[in-house]
Every structure is written in C-alpha cells, then in structure tokens.
Symmetry: C2
Subunit: 483 residues, 2 copies
Amino acid sequence: MEGEKADKGIKFKKSENFSEWYTDVIIRSEFVDYSSVSGMMVLRPDSYFLWEQIMNVTDRLLKENGVTNTAFPILIPERLLQKEAKHIEHFKAEVAWVTHGGDSELEERLAIRPTSETIMYESVAKWVRSWRDLPMKLNQWNSVVRWEFKHPTPFLRTREFHWNEGHSIYATEEETIRERDVILGIYEHVLKDYLALPCIVGRKTEQEKFAGGVASYSIEQLMPDGWAIQGPDWHFDGQNFAKVFNIEFLDKDGKKALAWQSTYAISTRVLGALIATHGDDRGLVIPPMMSRIQVVVVPIYKTDNRDKVIKAAMVVASEIGKKSRVHLDDRDDVSPGWKFNEWELKGVPLRIEIGERDINEGKVVAARRDTLEKTDIKIDAVGKESQKLLKNIQKSMYKRAVNLMKSMRSTAYSYASMKSALEVKKGFVLAPWCGSDECENKIKEETGAKITNMPLDQQNKLKGNCIYCGKQAKHMANFAKSY
Amino acid sequence: MEGEKADKGIKFKKSENFSEWYTDVIIRSEFVDYSSVSGMMVLRPDSYFLWEQIMNVTDRLLKENGVTNTAFPILIPERLLQKEAKHIEHFKAEVAWVTHGGDSELEERLAIRPTSETIMYESVAKWVRSWRDLPMKLNQWNSVVRWEFKHPTPFLRTREFHWNEGHSIYATEEETIRERDVILGIYEHVLKDYLALPCIVGRKTEQEKFAGGVASYSIEQLMPDGWAIQGPDWHFDGQNFAKVFNIEFLDKDGKKALAWQSTYAISTRVLGALIATHGDDRGLVIPPMMSRIQVVVVPIYKTDNRDKVIKAAMVVASEIGKKSRVHLDDRDDVSPGWKFNEWELKGVPLRIEIGERDINEGKVVAARRDTLEKTDIKIDAVGKESQKLLKNIQKSMYKRAVNLMKSMRSTAYSYASMKSALEVKKGFVLAPWCGSDECENKIKEETGAKITNMPLDQQNKLKGNCIYCGKQAKHMANFAKSY
C-alpha cells in the first residue's frame, strides 16, 4: 500500500518548479496522458468532462444569442486555404497535409483544418443572398491541428486542440462590432463563474492580431509563474474575407453590398490555466461547478463494523446525490488514507469522511480540497451543508485567484520601473505605449515581455509617455511574458 | 416571388426517382450542402441540430450506464494501425495519410483515424492494471475519415462522418456480452422514439463482421426503395485486440488475465434513413422530437390589419414556446403561401396559421406536416393542443414507418420464392441459410441481396433448409439489397 501511495505522490513543488509540477500533476492524477503521436495528448475522462462542461454552458449561451451549430469538412483544399494571403502566410508553416487517400496520391493536397474560415466562407458566399439571410451566426465545436515545432505542453501547446469556432456574418459594421462584448461577456462568465479564473480583457496589437482580421480582442489569464496565457478571443474581420470569398448580398434597397464578419473561439487551453491556477502540491484542485465528482464519501471502518459504516455512508451519499455529483468510495482493498491522497490528487472539491464514532455522534467530517480545512457537519443536514460548502469553495477559489492576479499586476510609467516590476512582481505590467511596432519589438527583445493586450477602457487610464521612446503614448498596454 | 417559389420546388418525385429526390430535397431544404472536398459534405444548422439531439439523448443514456467520454488524438501512426492484421487489412485502402507537417516530411505517415481502436488500446494497456480498473467504459464523439472511392451520397456514403465510438474493457467474457443488449437497447430507443425509425436487430455474418472483432450485431433500417442501410452496431471483440495490445490486468486472485472488449457506434448515417423514410414530394418531414423548429406560426395579413394579426400571432407563439421550439415567421416580403412551401420543404412538423377571421372566431388553423391535414384549434388552448398534435405526429410517423417496413418484409423457404419476394415486395426477405460463405456469396452474386443480419431470437424461427444448397439450415437470415 505504501508503495502505491508513494507512486501517486507528486515529485515537484509548485512553488519551486512550476513547469515540472504542472506536467507531473496532470499525468499522475490521470487527467490527461501522452500519446504515441508526438505533441498530441489524450483527454482522459476527468479532463474531457471539464471540456464538456465548458461546451455545454458556452453552447447554451451562444444559442440564446442566435448562434447555430454546423459541421464543415475536416479537410481544406490547398487552393482554398491560399485565398487569403495573410491568413495562409500565418498558418502554412504549421499545416498537416494529407497527400494520399489509400494508395492513391491526391491531385491536390488537403490541409487538416488549422481553423475553418476558408472552407466555411466559400459556402457562406453561396448561402448569403439577401439581407434577409443575415445575420448568419455559425459555430462549430471541433478539434484543429497545428503542427507546432516548439516543445509541446499539455493544453498550452499541442498539435491538436479542441475549441469552438464561431463565425458570424452581418450586414453592417456596427452590428458586427456590437457582437464583441456579447461574446467576450459569455467567455468571461464561463471563466469567472465556472472555472474560477479572473480575466484580463483587451485588444491585441496590430502585430499580435489574428491573421487576416482587422482587430483582435483577447481574454488573458495569468499563470502562477507570472507568465500570461491567452484565453478565448474575438476577432473583427471587417470585410477582408468577404472581399476574398465574395460574400455579397442584396440590401434592403436592392443594392449589392459586401458582408461584415467576426470570428471567436474558446479552447481546451483554458484547462491549462485552470490547473495551473488552482492546483497545489497535493495535486489538482477542480472548481465544484466543473468537477465530474463534486463530493467523494469515504467510509472509515474495520472488519467488524464495516456493514454499519457502509450503510450510513450510503445514506449520506444518496442524500448528497440529490443535488450534487457524488461518489461513494467503498473499496475494501485500500486504506482511508490512501483514498484521501488519491481524491486530493484528482482535485475532488469536497470529501466527506464517516466512521463509527461520527455516526454515533450524528455527524460527518467535511474536508475542503481548496483550503484542506476540516469541519464537522450534522448527518441530518449533510445534503444542504455540502451544497453550501461547494458554493463556498467555488467562490473562495475565485477570490484566491483574483488576489493572486492582483499581487502580480502593477502599473509603470518608466521603462526602469517596468523592468523592475517584471523582475519583482512578475505578471502583468500596465504601461503607456506609443503604438509603434518598433517599441513593442524592442521591449520584447530586451525584457521578454510582449504586449498581451490593451484594456478596452482607455479613456480613464491613458497617462504618460511611451515607456520606451518617450513619445506621446497612444495606449495603455498590458506587458507580460507569455506562453 | 413565383420565381423564388419555383426555385425551391423539388424536381423529382420520391416514388419515381428516389435517389434523385433524396439529394435534391436535402440540398434545396438547406439541410446539407456539398463542399469543395469531393465526398465531404457540410452539415448545415438544421441537420447538425438533429445530430446534436441524437448525441444528447444517446450520451445521457450511455452516461447512466457508466460510460465516460474521452478525446484521443485525431491521428494514428502507421505502425500502430498495422498492429492488428485484419483490422488494417480492412481499412488500409481507405485511409487518408498525413505525410507533411508544414514543409517537413514526417518520419512516419499518420492516418486520420478511420476508427480509433489502435490508438485507444495502446493507452488502455497502460491504464488497466488491476481488476479494480475494470470495467472501463470509454467513448468519444468525433468524426472519422474513410477515403471511399465509390460514388458519395450525403449521409449514406461520405469520406467523413460523425459518430460515437464506444470502447469497453471488461474483466470477463460474460460481462462484455451482457453489454450488447444494453447498448443496442439504447440505440433502438433513440431510433424508434426520437427518429421514428423501425429497427431490424440482428447478428452479422462472419464475412460482414467488424474487422478484428469476433462477432458483430447491427440495427438495420429500410430505405423506401427497398434497400437496407446499416445503422448503429455493437461488436464483441473478444480478446483479439487485448492480445495484440497487451491489455492485461491482475485479477482478484492476483493472477495475470487478458481483458475482454467491445466496440459500438451510431453515426450520422441514421439521418439518411430518417430523411428517406419520412420525406415526401414536398420535402423533408422531421419528427417533432428531433426538429430544430417544432412549430412555425405563420400570420396571414394585409397592410391594414398587419398589427392586429402579428400581435395575436406573437401571443400564440409565446404560448406555444412555453413547451415547444417555436418560430414566428413575420417576414413582410414573402407571401403566406411562399412561407408554407418553405417550411414544408424544411419539414417543420406543425404549422399554425392565423388570420383576422381566425382571431375573430377565437381559433387558429393547425397544419400537420406528416399528413398535411388541417384542423382548427382554439386560441385559448393553443399551447396544450399543439403539444398534443406534436406527440400525435411523432407517434403516427413511427407507425407509418413500421407499416412501410412490414409491407416490405417477407419470409421465404425456397430460392425461387425469395427471388420473387425481392422482385415484388423488395425490402427484407427472411430465409433459412446453411451458414456457409459460399451460399452467402452466391446468393449475393445472383440476386444482389446480401445477408444484412440474423435475428437474435433464432429458436422460434429456424425452420427449413438452406434456400441455396438445400442443406440443413443453421440460421434464419435477413437478405436485402444494401447501401
């Protein structure tokens, strides 16, 4: 038993060696696994359940907003992918090419979709004829392949990832732009209220925007090592793709007009931020809203009182199960302590322990995964109290993450203080920037920090001169080292 | 307007030219579309919604049965795919091969999954260690690619299709086999009660079984041209893959044992059967349980009474919307007649018409899509009555399909009567068969009919000698021409 226990133990401390800790914990907890395809991973049941939760809530909100789901082919002909110059320029280095069907060489190479703009918009051009067909809000949930050559990290950089790709077509620019806050609002809601992750929302710079679009907006998360990671995004495509793919319609006056478009996505990458933000040296910590098992009941018994304890544990589990996803761990061949370690490793938010003495005292012990606190709760109230605890855990996990984020954010009005903030506080430094590619690149070169995004609300924040060149600043920008 | 209307009209009659009707109706109704990848189609919102409904109900039932979802890589290394000889033998002619990542040639070709046994079982072999890890009931919802060279037909034969692939690993043969009726029961429920499709359940012959498995069981549907189409299936894999992939575990006695496995799937192909079975010369007919729009409300008005009628229609739609998925078609620029045609083409199960005279009489007109019958219903009871009608439509669509199926089934005890049944009644002929490949092949060669499957309950049915060779029959078998 000791051997098994040791085998499950995490070998690294999060605070000492974050990146080793990260991969160690997600493999050992049976959350994901490597596969025999380099750079591609397996989402095991616990992690895929999280992704399903994200899909379910996001999908419901998108549908309430008039979005309809579709499925376009997984393969895209090379000539189609090449239609938008900047778009192919960005993606061509990382396209996986299909060249053969069975033994036959294909006449034209086909790309596994790195993203589906080109194949979707070719169809959309056929479908959109009149203003009556608009807006057309299409979406798909699928996986895409991008043949990254950098070192892969589960969730953060993999050659296949899962996402939604929303593609909207509007009659006017105003309507398109109005969509931005709706979509980013949905994503923010999912991240904050389900994944317990704070969000930094803002606009990407010209150099960092989506290839082929006009403007990009992102939600950035912060990893505990102080590095930023880009989460969901929304892109304003203007009429760029409409021009190339000829997406025209007859407007209300019977005149030909060019459509306006947007694109947006949330991906499995957010699960990387979730693990990194909430996990600790004992393993994963999954927010209650997201966890496949929300409460695990662990009976504590010996041979002579087994029946009595198991019976009581079953009643407790069934009571909790009325409102929560519960699991009764009644395995006889591992000890309670072993079970505690295992469920802590897997990050189940709440553990209920019940032994004979507890039963006699009419109580159970509730152990929170987030704080590791233990409290007694009355058996009679176990359903209600565990519900309350789960809500509490969800809330306080978010609060803790917000505080962590706050402790790693600063504002700087000089290059020296920005560099020192990056050293000391790590994380995000908000600083005035002149808007030039040159300053952006120089700062990145010299400090390793890039502009992740620029806050949407600039009016109340813009102050000072560009920290690099000293010229008039155009934007306040969030600088951070970034995955 | 007339021009538009004509454009929407279906050019073929279902009874006269089924296959032209089939593709015409699913394109014109905007259900699916062709894409620029030959053999791959686009699932537009109405068809994808149907697939989502199938996924939702099936997934819920699978989860109740202890199945957990996962996501394995989309690509499979060639060496892995080759591990099971019969398996690769079957699939190699239709594998889409990825040979390049960006500009780099890969060291080893990667197949886009035609099915995921090989990549999944490699992981499973690592995960399964003890009897405590079993059963392991894994599933994924994804799409697969099989590079068919035959003429593609939307849903029935395409180079990409969507499905679930369930893969279970058990400790014993008995448990594995017990799963069969659970899974086939779930699929039958989905087909009958949601898609309104009757099912012929049975075992596949040795020649028709899944490549690499021990025994296959299928649910067959009947197309209106009398051809069978295979629907969902369940495969008993025995220990074949376990041997090849080394899926071993320590049993309760601490001894090494080899695992037992099964595989099962339902695919978008069933949508082909749904369209073919229920559609008519006016277009699609979608069963109420499956339709994205269940009730469409069409107001009938002129300029001078528009406001009054629209207002009443909104009240009606809101009342119906409390229980059903409703759409109010308040477009001003197309006539009610045009709208009727369009919604009939799209197969919306129930249409509510409301004009000024109806309002004055306190009623609306309800038009059923399946029978095209019109009845008056009281405005006060429009919610309840439309609910009732939808249930009624669902039921009678299934009944009609059952009757159609019955009219195309027969039993034959001689080769002559079988051939005549195939001529006259088309559809399925149940006949005694000796069990030899030779007779099976000869019959197929001479009549075009293959053995789709053999009823599970043989005891009460087996009678007579093999219709081809006259020897003792071993099975009653369903013969049919098959897609």
